[in-house]
């Protein structure tokens, strides 16, 4: 069954390498994926801090399109989009008044409403279902690379939307182990990077990201691996510039690298913190 891809705004701008590597990895694993036609922005943190009704309506609009196009699963690589669309789905299931109202209004606007049939997933979950296929494809084991997986907030909280253990998620750890990368233990995998306030309250974001980078280094990691375009962007752009910066990868990029896919260089050229010296040193590229 084809899965709908809801890329979200970031994957067409600041996180282009995430979109490219995600599509490449899915293609390599023969998982059918198609970008949802005519999708619209989920409104991110601007929406829910302004008007819950508006946020529900904007999120549900996308779910209605996916249902009408005959999809049974929609996958969202951005943690913020994932969280909001899944919360909107849950709010319909739990009959939250603003969500029900929004759904009624969509009937007027789109001549259709959300019928709660979709499985809303993050690509980490989709890939976790095909572990054996991944193992078969690894040609360039990343054994020399030491990483810490970073889940951040919105994939693991609150409980109702989390796809893994709230306190100790392991899906990404497991996937990275398949690439043979050395996955280091650390206590910061679900701490906040302050991404949603990266522009409006920059000092706060600088403090959070520098702490994360420091803790990753202390854990013995050469890089942090993320599953969210906002975390990646915040960790790259707000990390302390006075000390040696630590590269930030998307999990899909590292899987692509372990598959020796052709486009890997193109992804890494898009990074703000250059990962080439590390990857060259470890002879992985």
């Amino acid at each position: 069954m084809k899965i709908a891809l809801y890329p979200g705004c970031s994957l067409n701008s600041t996180a282009k390498e995430y979109k490219m590597s995600l599509i490449d990895v899915f293609r390599e694993l023969a998982i059918p994926l198609k970008e949802l036609d005519e999708w619209s922005c989920c409104s991110a943190s601007a929406g829910h801090s302004t008007d819950p009704f508006l946020t529900y309506a904007l999120c549900l609009r996308n779910l209605v399109i996916a249902e009408n196009e005959g999809y049974s699963e929609i996958t969202l690589p951005c943690a913020a989009c994932y969280n909001l669309l899944k919360s909107a789905h849950n709010a319909i299931v739990n009959e939250v008044p603003e969500a029900l109202e929004a759904n009624q209004e969509l009937q007027k606007i789109m001549k259709s409403f959300y019928k709660k049939t979709l499985n809303i997933s993050h690509p980490l979950e989709v890939l976790a279902r095909v572990e054996n296929k991944i193992i078969d494809k690894v040609k360039n084991p990343l054994s020399s690379l030491k990483v810490v997986p970073y889940y951040g907030c919105l994939l693991t909280r609150p409980r109702e939307v989390a796809f893994d253990n709230v306190e100790q998620p392991v899906l990404m750890d497991n996937l990275l182990k398949l690439t043979k990368a050395e996955v280091k233990k650390w206590s910061y995998k679900t701490d906040c990077c302050s991404g949603s306030l990266s522009v409006a309250n920059t000092p706060q974001a600088e403090k959070s990201t520098s702490l994360l980078a420091e803790k990753a280094r202390q854990a013995g990691a050469d890089a942090i691996v993320t599953a969210c375009p906002l975390c990646q962007m915040t960790l790259e752009s707000r990390q302390d510039k006075d000390i040696q910066q630590i590269p930030i990868f998307y999990f899909t990029e590292l899987i692509a690298l372990s598959f020796s896919l052709d486009n890997c260089k193109t992804y890494f050229e898009k990074h703000l913190i250059n990962p080439f010296s590390l990857l060259n040193k470890l002879q992985l590229i």
């Binding site: 282009k16 005519e38 829910h48 209004e105 949603s196 403090k207």
Partner: protein, 191 residues
């Protein structure tokens, strides 16, 4: 201040945020784990207590709601199932409607407002339904009069082709739906 069992302010916020504010017993778990507690003017548990006391002025004047990153740690830790970030969102919404956003909260309030504006498209250029980073950043700089912040970052993103110059014109068949959603939301707020 006179202590009432449940202030009308608390009841109203409880209803609007769908959070059981009255069951807060001041254990401060939501505060210890909050990554922003070092930046907060009032700690989370203090905000909850002020709400229960009905001290509207202090709550509206506090910058705490505007420093919340919506990380949901508080919601996960609270033994009474209170999602404090939803309470803080509700305070922001009410403050905005009453024109009472405090000075230290202005930046994040402006950012949200412009974000929503940028996804409604621009006349002639289109772009309905997707956020438009360049317009968002330009307007944000104009409004906050902080022209130099992140100029270097913008340049780096531009070089890497990560900051599209034109708005994303991807909604072609279902035009107007997003605009209608915004219109209805606005009418609903004005009611």
């Amino acid at each position: 201040m006179e202590y009432k069992e449940q202030s009308s302010f608390a009841l109203n916020l409880e209803k609007k945020s769908h959070q059981p504010i009255s069951s807060c017993f001041q254990c401060a778990k939501c505060t210890i784990e909050c990554p922003m507690n070092g930046f907060q003017e009032h700690k989370n548990y203090e905000i909850l207590h002020l709400i229960k006391l009905g001290d509207e002025n202090t709550v509206y004047n506090s910058s705490t709601p505007y420093f919340c990153t919506n990380c949901k740690t508080c919601a996960t830790r609270c033994p009474n199932g209170i999602d404090i970030s939803k309470v803080l969102d509700t305070i922001k919404i009410k403050a905005k409607a009453k024109n009472r956003v405090p000075k230290r909260g202005e930046n994040s309030s402006i950012f949200s407002e412009l974000f929503l504006k940028s996804m409604q498209g621009i006349p002639l250029f289109g772009g309905e339904g997707r956020s438009y980073e360049l317009l968002l950043m330009a307007l944000y700089k104009l409004k906050t009069k902080n022209f130099f912040a992140d100029a270097a970052l913008g340049k780096e993103l531009f070089k890497r082709n990560k900051l599209p110059f034109l708005p994303h014109n991807a909604i072609k068949i279902r035009k107007g739906e997003v605009k209608n959603i915004f219109k209805i939301a606005k009418e609903r707020q004005e009611k």
